[in-house]
Symmetry: C2
């Protein structure tokens, strides 16, 4: 989670953010103290709580009291936290992921169990307290997230990954949870099928733009903002959107440098190679084209909201989406 300044909260959004934080601070606890602590640490590391805010705004946009959906909104963030805990499981002991790694503090075994427990605890609560199709949406979403992460792992270092392949991964690993967050808020507010779909679509497009911004930040933010070195995705041989778009107009030298780096991503010259590749991506238009792609998905997200009419929550949702676009512009100036 990157603490960007771009997704700025309006007054109401700031209230929703505070509501979510308050809920976590006062109400969240599982029956397992070790796991509660691991989750609290992960939550304390920051985050804009965008997923729960989508749930609350989707409920509000359909005439419901957002506060009544705080627990459901919190489960959305906790699914995200569970995936972060599992993301920290490493194949060899290292500390490259910074201070917030459960795996580094507790070991891989505990990270796996903590994430498993958290997922199971969420489903246990959701199946006890929410009607169909909420439990099904949440479990389908977790299946999508992990499926997307497996697809992403298989695409590591694949220079031929087409844009459509990237979008498939992102729809599953990132956008599905934003879509479910908005969809479930609308469902719990008793919204019509059309309005539920509108909010699901908003979440989906918002999620794609969010991931694209995340990819962009990996090449343009400072190490202090990221909590990890710039170009970390390149070190992990991830095919991110700036890289894929830059490859459309890559010079032979750029392509050769990339192939050489992917052949030895942890070698002695890796730091130097990554800095050169980040410059290559910029020169080939990868950052600019990513900014344009983000703007396109932000537009689609906002257009999806048409069925909501002119309720205030619609403007809040649109403002969250515009924040992604604004941030991408600030980063590529």
């Amino acid at each position: 989670m990157i603490g960007t300044s771009g997704v700025r909260a309006g007054d109401n959004n700031r209230d929703l953010y505070a509501l979510v934080e308050e809920f976590f601070r006062t109400t969240f606890a599982t029956d397992n103290a070790l796991i509660t602590e691991a989750v609290r640490r992960m939550l304390a590391a920051g985050g804009k709580r965008l997923r729960p805010r989508l749930t609350l705004l989707a409920a509000e946009a359909n005439g419901a009291d957002p506060e009544a959906q705080l627990p459901l909104a919190a489960y959305m963030e906790l699914i995200h936290v569970g995936t972060l805990i599992h993301d920290d499981v490493v194949d060899r002991a290292d500390t490259r992921r910074g201070v917030n790694s459960t795996a580094v503090d507790y070991g891989n075994r505990v990270s796996v169990l903590a994430g498993d427990y958290l997922f199971a605890w969420i489903f246990k609560n959701v199946t006890a307290s929410y009607p169909a199709p909420i439990p099904h949406i949440l479990s389908s979403t977790l299946a999508d997230i992990t499926d997307g992460e497996v697809l992403q792992l298989r695409a590591l270092g694949n220079l031929e990954l087409p844009l459509a392949g990237y979008i498939e991964v992102v729809l599953k690993k990132t956008a599905s949870l934003f879509a479910a967050s908005a969809e479930c808020g609308a469902i719990m507010a008793g919204a019509s099928t059309l309005r539920v779909k509108a909010l699901r679509d908003f979440g989906l497009y918002f999620g794609v733009a969010f991931q694209m911004l995340d990819d962009l930040l990996d090449m343009t933010a400072s190490e202090a903002e990221l909590g990890k070195p710039i170009g970390n995705d390149l070190r992990e041989r991830k095919m991110t959107i700036p890289l894929i778009l830059a490859l459309e107009d890559a010079t032979p030298e750029f392509r050769t440098r990339l192939e050489r780096h992917f052949g030895d991503p942890d070698g002695p010259g890796a730091g130097e190679a990554i800095r050169a590749l980040v410059a290559d991506v910029g020169e080939a238009g990868g950052l600019r084209k990513t900014r344009e792609a983000i703007a396109g998905y932000v537009e689609r997200a906002k257009m999806s909201l048409a069925p909501l009419g002119s309720v205030p929550a619609r403007a809040e949702l649109a403002a969250l989406a515009d924040g992604l676009s604004r941030d991408s512009i600030a980063r590529t100036r």
Copy 2:
């Protein structure tokens, strides 16, 4: 999973085993090919399919067609498979867990994702196709399993772990899934509350006896049967039932040897120390007392079945429980 000869299948049980195997071979597939393959490999490594057999027998004992519950029975085994895949995640690369380790073949990251996907896929299907409270029972059970595994991790090397602490861990990490397997079979057959509880209790006691036998085998079976070295639990500093019961009558020398080994469980003399400790456990009556404890839980399991009357499936369930007891006798002669 240990291929014991003790849990022998009667004719009908053999049919149920074959039904489950056939179902996995012909019908099981997830939407992710890599994960389907990982699960199939884990299934091919063996196993008696006791959990699905409890589901099918519980349905049959209440007048339902067991075949109709094959998918639900399969989910019970697949929850177990998911926990095995996650058990294989290691803190450092090693191959001590033998040939069936997903982590060794694919790496920790893939093991974590494969298990996550499998759990989510199960819940996705169960929430789509089964009525309350089945989805809630399954997710609560997975929460119990992981909670129990965390408790077990925290108790590693704790010589003062009381018998009640061991039982708490086993009820959660092992018995809960056997209990859920039998309970859900009964629920789907439309059984009365009393009969559902009878089958849940059977599964719970059966599960405790099953885990105690597993602990016993770790000290008495051959390396070929176990697929790992004898005394592997001691190497992992697990507080198993033979060890806990042996400590009740431990000589000072035995206790000192144990403390020394737990202080350096992977040291150069560990193999020798483990062999000596296994002998110590036997001399202090740990194996005999474990056998007696298993017999006690088997009796309780069988007594739980009283509300079923004299249906054939009751005799089959009792035979499965007796198999655990018989096996423990064969191993401690």
